[in-house]
């Protein structure tokens, strides 16, 4: 089982959304990290077949997914960004509708939908109209619908948007239990979601795949770049202009800053262990206001 992208580029007139992306994915959970506009959604839409790349190929088990689109879509599960729904459908009806579109036998679909709704904690509201669901409930419904056909390739674009911490834990457990022998790719802004469950992290920046690897290995690339220092409050504004700050904690008239910098930011700064959040800021400093 192998999903491979070779030199995939997507451009809109003179804007390049994806630039020569090549990657090969074996079964496992992949976390796609990228700021807004980095090309995550474009990449997902290309893999799911709703957007055509300008150049390059996407193959699944060495077969072009566009030439074998029916076959590929039958093993695909997809949660698009800004997941939409039919407000007057109940949760169960929506699941059964998607199951029908995935060509699943009605009797099996009913069992499978009930099972998934239970897994995402929606079994007690399955007969309520979706318009009465909260944002988190709709998002969980979106996650459940993506898994109806027990897909070999599962693509989740921002699946944890709107989920509270408890729901996020439930989601992580669900993905972990589901991901055996499957390719799961998910994007999120909530770095900790990826850190806990992703076997590998893909860093996409301005349409370019900048780095990939296990989180520990990626974090290692910024080893020695993360510092903590304590400054007086009146110097805070100057420090915010000069340095990339990943955290600030106020303590009376002093502030403890966590700084990402290749050089020692202040004479008394101490090196600290980097985290994936630091890595995110390191790559996407523009979004962080730097």
């Amino acid at each position: 089982m192998q999903l491979e992208l070779k030199n995939v580029t997507k451009s809109y007139d003179d804007i390049i959304a994806l630039n020569d992306v090549s990657l090969c994915l074996a079964p496992g959970v992949y976390g796609l990290l990228g700021s807004n506009g980095s090309g995550k959604t474009t990449l997902f839409r290309i893999i799911s077949g709703v957007l055509k790349q300008t150049t390059g190929t996407v193959t699944y088990n060495e077969k072009d997914i566009r030439a074998n689109s029916d076959e590929f879509r039958s093993i695909l599960g997809f949660l698009p960004q800004d997941f939409s729904y039919y407000p007057d459908f109940t949760g169960m009806k929506f699941m059964l509708y998607i199951a029908a579109l995935k060509g699943i036998n009605r009797n099996f679909a009913k069992r499978r939908c009930l099972e998934l709704l239970k897994l995402v904690g929606l079994d007690d509201v399955k007969d309520k109209k979706i318009k009465k669901y909260s944002g988190g409930m709709k998002q969980r419904l979106g996650i459940a619908q993506a898994m109806i056909n027990d897909p070999e390739v599962l693509i989740l674009d921002e699946p944890t948007v709107g989920l509270d911490p408890k729901e996020r834990v439930r989601f992580r457990n669900l993905i972990s239990s589901f991901s055996k022998n499957k390719i799961v790719i998910l994007s999120t802004h909530i770095v900790s979601d990826i850190e806990y469950i992703a076997d590998e992290i893909l860093v996409l920046n301005k349409g370019v795949l900048e780095n990939r690897g296990p989180s520990s290995k990626l974090i290692e690339t910024i080893h020695g770049y993360v510092w903590e220092t304590e400054i007086e409050n009146d110097k805070l504004d100057d420090m915010l202009i000069v340095h990339l700050i990943s955290n600030q904690k106020h303590a009376g008239n002093r502030t403890v800053l966590r700084i990402i910098s290749k050089e020692k930011p202040t004479p008394d700064a101490k090196q600290v262990q980097p985290t994936l959040e630091d890595l995110y800021l390191y790559y996407f400093r523009m979004e962080a206001g730097r």
Binding site: R45, G49, V50, L51, S74, L79, P80
Partner: protein
Amino acid sequence: MKTIVKYEMEKIKQNKTFIGALFISLFVLAGILYVGFYHAQLYGIDREGVEKYHQIVEKSTGEFNDQRVKKVLTNYIESYQSNDANTKGFDLFSWEIANTFIAEGENVYDQINDAMKQGDKITIDQINLKSIEEIGFTEFQEPLTMGSFVTWKDLYNVTNQLFLLISILSILVCCLVFSSDTSRNMNSLLLSTRLGRKQLTIAKIIAATFISLFIFLFIHGLSLGAFTVYNDGFTGWDTSIQTNFSMELFRFPVELNQLQVFGLAIALQFLSLLAIVAITLYVSATTRSPFSSLLIGLGLFLLPKALTQLIKRGPIYHLLNLFPINNYSVKDFLTLMSAKTEFFLAHFVQNMILTMVVLVAIAIIFNFAVYQRMKQYQEV
């Protein structure tokens, strides 16, 4: 497939715009039927007009010849000059025949009124009547049949108005089918499923067509029900269309009775509806919002009518006359299709077949275009 069609129909039925439009349409339908049948001219002031009409029709029905015309007009003139309240009253059936056959036209009423003022009476022999041959009625091997026609003219009028109602309602249904999913950002999800590009598209086409046809049958069913009450059954079904004096189709070249004309009108409307549904579905598949889809759909439906106001001759005019908005009216399709100057071919039957074939072709081509578009749909 059946399951997907069911869901697609449910999506249409749950749409608030559709529900609202259906509700309004029921009022419009009630209005058309009320004005067309219950409030028709035939009822007269005392609401007994229909009953009197059928009594007169019963006496007048039969082979269409000069003797029968004279008999009808004799009764009409006598009744007009009578002082008996039971026989007096406006007789629309005979009045239409008198308008056709009395050579002096309206002047004859002045003569009769003058004679009545002087306590005298005018007889039919004092009135100059045209003959069937003089008027130029088309002749066939079998003689034409005379019978009830006023009620059938009302049925044709109602049928014309219902076509506009059904078409607008169907355009509204079909414009939602694809564009509402696009405007909701549902396409990413739907088109990435196994059956989302082929079977789903077919299911949407079937659902929209089925609902449109259901609307068509339901509305015409109600209309026919109302007509049978109004017309006391199907009296006059076998009356020749040439002897429908309200429609003045004396020279219509094909031997058809009123029921056959009604059948043709329904068949033409049915095929027109299939074409309208297919065109609107294509518009829906190519636009991003139901509102723009509705505007374009309605615009395309009405456009050929507007163009015929600008182009009144030649092949483009002939082409425009093939579109439903230009031939949905019963009198229009009967007159246009029997004239070489209005249509491509010389004979009514040929033009009717050509129109039907074109409508079916439009339906097939546009439905296929929708299928191809959604099969290859790419987001931007």
